[in-house]
Each structure stands twice: as structure tokens, then as C-alpha cells.
């Protein structure tokens, strides 16, 4: 419970004698709220020991009692305005605390349950012919890597060229409408992207079709706007002096973009692309309806169903087979691998932007 920034509001308050409401009151010492919360914790401990120990109730009692105590004490000693201020401070800090509950519990739960099957077999075996214990997600991990690589291959050139168009060439209505529809595209629900890919391939191959490439097309619809947005932001940051210097030396515009603008922005571009990959690698819904699931290893995205890690996790959880525990364990390990992949990509993105940032001293 941080209340360390009271100086900023207390300073002006004491130097404004014309404010009658504050005039007659003393300023609280900085340790007072902490003492109140300490007392609240002691009372909460007593209550929860009497009614049966429960960590959640203990924390809730502490926060509620501490907030009330701080408010009432401040109301008596400092007046209603300062009291409201302290109340809001408590509420705002608690809100942040509440937001941390899902994050911490989620990571803890996935790591705890996923560690069960986090072994070599999980990464080297497929599910072909596996009933009960054993088996792994080799086929699903390979499927995810192949489909994500294909998605990147489709999305990055289109996204990058569009960003170049918007920053370097675009003018007038076409630029405005592309910008607007990129925004619209960011909001497309992932399942709708999957339906689009399905509807597109059904027109060509007939109903019931499932291909790895369909998944890549569906994911591209989700990835392209992310790439365009981030690349556009980064390209805008390239100083115009660099471009003008190149033009002055007689370099054609396209060579200026390829040899000057893009190398300057490469760190930001790579960061953006990595974050975009992190965004689509965990997508489940579009793959569920376009790629399906299989137990065998399939490396060919143009031939039949493929397994992917998120879909694998979904089916192992909802249709675990007999006995169910084996499938459920595999599902949690798949979820753990997914989180590791996504978090890893996020860390890589931050490293790229830190290590390869353009030298600011020109």
C-alpha cells in the first residue's frame, strides 16, 4: 500500500490558508496510514482465526478495514477533503492489486500443472497410437512452427510494404481509407478470420477442406494489421534529414528506402514483427476450424490436417480419452509451452529493441 507521494498534495494544501476547510487541521505523519493498515491486519488475523483460517478472507478483511480506518482517522484529524483523497488512494492501489491476482494465479497454476509432463518425451513423441500414458506434442509443436512461419512469410512482406506505402508514398483518399481499414482489421474477431479462410478455400476445393495453409491465411488476416501499425510507427520515427541527405546525393527513392530508411528502423521493425508473431502464435479459434487436429506428424501444410499446439491443448483438455488424467496433463503442459513461447517472444522483442536500437549519436 504505497502512500509515499503525499508531499505533492500536502505541500500546496498547507500553503493555502484561505481554504477554510483545511485551515484548522494538522497534517498526518507519513507513518500513520501504515500503522492503520498494520492494526487492520492484526484485527483481520484475529477475525479469520476465529472463523477459520482463509488467506483470501484475511487479505480482504485487511484491505477493507485498513481503508475504512485510514478514511475515518483522516476524516477526524484532517477533514473530509483529505479523507476522500486518502480513500481514493487506497482504492486505486487495491485495484492494481486485484489486477495482479489473475496474472500471478494463472502463471502459478499453469506452471504447477504443466510441470507434470514437461519432459523429453513431450517434445519428441507424437500422439500416434498413444492410448493412456505417454505420448507428446512433437507433431503439434512442429505444426505450430510451420504454420506460424508461413503466416510470417505472408504477413511481413504485405504489412511492411503497406507501411512503406503509408509513410513514404501515400497521399489523399487511398492513404486515409487504408489507415481506416487497418484499424477495422485489428478489430476482426479471430474466429471470423478463420471463417473467412474456410469460406475462401471452400470455394476452391469444396466443403470439408482442412489444410495447414488455410490456417496461415486466417492468421495472416490477424497479423497483417499488427505488422502495419508497428512498422508505420517505427518508419515515421526515421528522421527526414536522412532521406533528404540521400536524395541530395542523387540516390533514387527506392534505394533510399531500402538502404537508408529500413536499416535505420530495423530494430523497431524486428521488434514489431516479433510481437506480432507472439500475438498470433497462441491463436486457437481460427486454427480449430481451418486446420483441425490429427494425431500423426504432418510436415506438409498443403496436404490435409495438421496438429497445432493451441488446438492440441484444447482437444486434450476437452476430449482427454481414457483415463482422462493423462490427456489433461498433456493439455496443461501444452499450455505451459505456449506461455513460454509467447513470453519468450516478448522478451526477445524487448532485447532486440534494446540491443539493436539505432545509435543516437550521429
Amino acid at each position: 500500500m504505497s502512500t509515499s507521494t503525499q508531499q505533492s498534495s500536502a505541500g500546496p494544501a498547507t500553503s493555502a490558508p484561505s481554504q477554510g476547510a483545511l485551515g484548522g487541521h494538522e497534517k498526518q505523519a507519513p507513518w500513520v496510514p501504515w500503522a492503520v493498515f498494520g492494526a487492520a491486519a492484526a484485527v483481520a488475523l484475529a477475525i479469520s482465526l476465529l472463523t477459520g483460517w482463509n488467506i483470501v478472507l484475511f487479505v480482504i478483511y485487511t484491505v477493507v478495514l485498513g481503508t475504512l480506518g485510514t478514511y475515518l482517522l483522516s476524516r477526524v484529524t484532517e477533514g473530509s477533503r483529505k479523507a476522500t483523497d486518502r480513500l481514493i488512494t487506497c482504492l486505486v492501489v487495491s485495484a492494481f492489486g486485484i489486477a495482479m491476482v489473475p496474472l500471478v494465479s494463472l502463471v502459478y497454476e499453469v506452471v504447477r500443472r504443466g510441470a507434470e509432463r514437461f519432459d523429453a518425451e513431450f517434445f519428441t513423441a507424437s500422439l500416434q497410437g498413444v492410448i493412456g500414458p505417454g505420448g507428446g506434442a512433437y507433431h503439434a509443436i512442429m505444426g505450430t512452427l510451420i504454420i506460424t512461419a508461413l503466416t510470417t512469410l505472408i504477413s511481413v512482406p504485405i504489412g511492411l510494404m503497406t507501411a512503406i506505402y503509408l509513410v513514404e508514398y501515400g497521399t489523399g483518399r487511398l492513404k486515409r481509407s487504408i489507415t481506416f481499414f487497418i484499424d477495422v482489421m485489428t478489430g476482426i474477431p479471430s474466429i471470423v478470420a478463420g471463417l473467412f479462410a474456410y469460406a475462401l478455400f471452400v470455394l476452391i476445393f469444396g466443403p470439408g477442406i482442412r489444410l495447414g495453409i488455410m490456417g496461415a491465411v486466417a492468421l495472416s488476416v490477424l497479423m497483417i494489421p499488427v505488422v502495419v501499425r508497428s512498422a508505420e510507427e517505427v518508419l515515421k520515427l526515421v528522421p527526414n534529414e536522412l532521406r533528404e541527405a540521400a536524395y541530395a546525393l542523387g540516390v533514387p527513392k527506392w534505394r533510399t528506402i531500402l538502404k537508408v530508411v529500413i536499416p535505420t528502423a530495423i530494430a523497431g521493425l524486428a521488434t514489431g514483427v516479433t510481437l506480432a508473431i507472439a500475438r498470433v502464435i497462441g491463436e486457437t479459434a481460427p486454427l480449430l476450424i481451418t486446420v483441425g487436429i490429427t494425431n500423426a506428424t504432418n510436415f506438409n501444410p498443403f496436404d490435409g490436417r495438421m496438429a497445432t499446439l493451441p488446438v492440441y491443448a484444447y482437444y486434450q483438455l476437452t476430449q482427454p480419452g481414457v483415463p482422462p488424467q493423462e490427456g489433461i496433463d498433456r493439455a496443461w503442459t501444452a499450455a505451459l509451452v505456449l506461455i513460454i513461447l509467447v513470453m519468450g517472444l516478448n522478451v526477445v522483442a524487448r532485447l532486440i529493441s534494446r540491443l539493436f536500437a539505432p545509435k543516437t549519436s550521429r
Binding site: 492494481f96 476482426i188 546525393l249 528506402i257
Partner: protein
């Protein structure tokens, strides 16, 4: 970086083939995006036409398209509204905490931690919701039914697994928290320092400063951000598909029973792998409805956010 060696003496700068090819490719990529988006709409429409023109008794559920999609739209809107009601105050408070309350040195790191919530794949939220959150909410739901059961939202019987509409609303709230708080944070950090310092100099407490200078300035940002969050929540699929107890209960306001209306996206994910023929067309038609709803919500949100720039008063 600038390679002077590769600069050929240009006679006519306008007609270099390299320039024309490159500019053409860039423009083509931009146009391709418009084509893709038009394609999404066109293919969805063309594949849902059979369902739109079919006779009512051929649609799954035998009641016609409207009575099939109706409860799904209701479920989608209900879950997203719960998420919005829970997430918006929380996200604004988090944004305030990071911008105005947290120690300066920690602020950036705390912002990154909140953004981590957005990085977690939605299927993992489903796992977490069904295994961790739902069982822990059951005692709370029992308490709600006993004490507030007279309100239609909290009528029993309470689901024993906790896989209810309210659980889904809370999970969706966690999922949209990062985007709403990110946009609120961005707007709050743009509040002119002159305004906040003027308020403090006049003797305002920190809360009064926020109430007088920050909230009025950031109001449309908060509204726009929460509507973008609403768009997210409407289209969320896997978490709902895993957590929500799957029985088509029609339209009901009861939030804590085990009979809940499905959402459009979750219904597609659950039914699509097994459907054939007209069933697929019906699902695509429901996807079209979802597409239109999220499109409208997102366009409205963008409009609200962009409108703020025009009369911001910062200049």
C-alpha cells in the same frame, strides 16, 4: 548508412524503373489489404446465403435462423457487457495508479506487467478459468443466491461447477483489462502538466486534481478505450468455449446457474468441427452477424477516440 558509391547520375528522376516498380509494389500491398477486407465480407456473405434462404425447419434447432442466432447474440452481448462493467472502473483505476500514484521509477515496469496480461493466449485463460477461477467462485455464488436471490440476476439453482455467465464475464474482464488501461494511460499521460499543476497550486488534493483536470480531459479516451475492449470481449472465442457450461438455454438473465446462453464465437468453435452442409452455412451466417456487430462497435470506438484530438484544449 548512406552509401554514396551507389548513387548513379540520374538524368530523369521521374522515370526510373526501380522507383516505379517499388512504388507500385507498395501501393499494391496497400490495395491488397482493402481487397482482403472486402474478401472477408464477401466470402462470409456468399457462404451464409444458403442459410439465409433456407426454410426455417432446415436450420439446426428447427426454429429458423433468427431464433437460432437470437439467443447467441444475447449471450454475446450479455457476457461482453458484464466484462465491460467490471473492467472499465478497474482499468481506469490501474491507469491512474500507474500515471499518478506509483513511484516514477516503477511506473514503466508496472505498465509492462499489466500489458503481460494481454500477451497470454486466450486458450490459457480458458484453462485458468475452468480450473482455478470457477471452483473458487462457487461459494461466492452460493452467498449471492442466499442473500441477493431476489434479484433476477442471482436466482438459483447455483451451478456446482462455477461455469456460469458471471464467471465468463469476469474472465473476459481480465482479458480486456490491458487494452482499456493502456488507452486510458496514454490519454492520462497526455493531460497538460499545466492543468494538473494549476489544480495542485490552487490547493486541490490529488483526487480533486484528478477529478477536475484529468478525468474531463481523458473522458472520451476512456470511453473509446472501453469500447475497443468491448469489441475484444464480443469476439473472444476459446475462453468462452472452454469455460461456459454448454447448454443452449435461450434468453435468460440468470447469471449464476448452469443453464446459460452461448456466445456466437464460442458456438462456432464448438459446433464447426462436427457440422456439415447447411449447419456450416448457418454457423458462417452467425459469424457474419458477429463481424457486423464488432465492426460497428470498433468503428464507433475509433471515432470517439479520434474525435478527442480535435478539441483537446492542450494547445
Amino acid at each position: 548508412m548512406t552509401s554514396t558509391t551507389s548513387a548513379p547520375p540520374a538524368q530523369q528522376p521521374k522515370s526510373r524503373p526501380g522507383d516505379r516498380i517499388f512504388a507500385g509494389t507498395a501501393k499494391g500491398a496497400g490495395i491488397l489489404i482493402l481487397v482482403i477486407l472486402a474478401g472477408v465480407a464477401l466470402f462470409l456473405i456468399s457462404e451464409s446465403v444458403p442459410a439465409l434462404t433456407a426454410s426455417p425447419d432446415e436450420i439446426p434447432g428447427d426454429g429458423g435462423l433468427a431464433s437460432y442466432i437470437g439467443p447467441l447474440i444475447f449471450g454475446t452481448l450479455l457476457s461482453a457487457m458484464i466484462a465491460l462493467l467490471v473492467a472499465t472502473p478497474l482499468a481506469v483505476a490501474i491507469a491512474l495508479f500507474i500515471t499518478f500514484y506509483a513511484p516514477r521509477k516503477l511506473a514503466a515496469g508496472l505498465g509492462y506487467v499489466v500489458d503481460l496480461l494481454a500477451a497470454i493466449p486466450s486458450i490459457v485463460y480458458g484453462f485458468w478459468g475452468i480450473a482455478w477461477l470457477a471452483p473458487r467462485l462457487v461459494p461466492f455464488y452460493r452467498w449471492l443466491e442466499e442473500n441477493l436471490g431476489f434479484i433476477p440476476f442471482f436466482t438459483g439453482p447455483v451451478s456446482s461447477s462455477g461455469r456460469t455467465m458471471l464467471t465468463i464475464g469476469l474472465v473476459l474482464a481480465v482479458m480486456i483489462l490491458p487494452i482499456v488501461s493502456a488507452i486510458s494511460r496514454e490519454v492520462f499521460s497526455q493531460v497538460p502538466t499545466l492543468h494538473t499543476e494549476a489544480a495542485l497550486a490552487l490547493g486541490a488534493t490529488r483526487w480533486e486534481m484528478i477529478k477536475m483536470a484529468v478525468i474531463p480531459y481523458g473522458k472520451s479516451g476512456i470511453i473509446g478505450g472501453s469500447m475497443l475492449g468491448l469489441g475484444r470481449a464480443l469476439g473472444e472465442t476459446m475462453a468462452v468455449a472452454i469455460i461456459l457450461s454448454g447448454s443452449a438455454a435461450g434468453i435468460t438473465w440468470a447469471l449464476i446457474t448452469s443453464a446459460n446462453p452461448q456466445t456466437i464465437a464460442a458456438n462456432i468453435a464448438l459446433q464447426f468441427p462436427e457440422e456439415t452442409g447447411l449447419g456450416v452455412n448457418t454457423l458462417i451466417a452467425s459469424g457474419l452477424a458477429l463481424f457486423v456487430i464488432t465492426l460497428l462497435v470498433n468503428m464507433l470506438a475509433r471515432w470517439v477516440v479520434s474525435r478527442r484530438a480535435d478539441f483537446s484544449g492542450a494547445n
